[in-house]
Amino acid sequence: MIGPMEIMIGITALAALFSTAATYLAITEKDLVKAVIYSAIQSTIYAFIYYMLMAPDIVLVYIPVAVGLYPAVILVLIRKTERWEKD
């Protein structure tokens, strides 16, 4: 039986599957700048999951921290150190 509740939780589960793919690419990427941006994709999908779990105040705090500030800070770190991860 598929109603509106099943559709909404199904969308959340689909977003969670894509977040797993983004996490896998972020962990196994050699280029660290690409890894940071894959982490930003994962953060966007997590913000959508928080929205669907009915937590709008968490979304309001989580988006500036995880989409805005984490990539900025880690890009400053990569700029000042090294970009490629050696095998």
């Binding site: 509106p4 559709i7 969308i11 689909l14 894509f18 793919a21 983004a22 690419l25 700048v33 690409k34 941006i37 894959y38 930003a40 994709i41 966007t44 999908i45 913000a47 959508f48 929205y51 709008p56 979304v59 309001l60 988006i63 500036p64 989409v67 805005g68 990539p71 900025a72 890009l75 400053v76 990569i78 700029r79």
Partner: protein
């Protein structure tokens, strides 16, 4: 007179189009060959996700859920600017 039931039914019918679009955006964002492709895809995906969040707030009938869309749009733009400044080989403060 159009009630809430018709609007909710319309949003349920329009939902698979949005879901297909987001799946295609995420595929391009995950297999983009260069950094610019990934950032452009996640940027467009964030703007469309903001519109989708507003439509879902109308579906859920919750006015407190509106404020998340404006935050998402603003900080996706800031991600653009950070990566552009990194690619132009400048320091972050200039």
């Amino acid at each position: 007179m159009i009630g809430l039931g018709e609007v909710q039914l319309f949003i349920l019918y329009i939902l698979p189009v949005f879901i297909t679009a987001f799946i295609l955006y995420t595929i391009r964002a995950l297999r983009g060959p260069s950094i610019s492709d990934i950032v452009l895809a996640v940027d467009s995906m964030s703007y469309d996700l903001a519109a989708f969040l507003v439509i879902l707030a109308i579906f859920f009938r919750e006015p407190i859920l509106i404020g998340t869309a404006i935050v998402l749009a603003l900080w996706a733009y800031s991600l653009d600017i950070y990566v552009s400044k990194y690619l132009e080989k400048k320091e972050m403060g200039e």
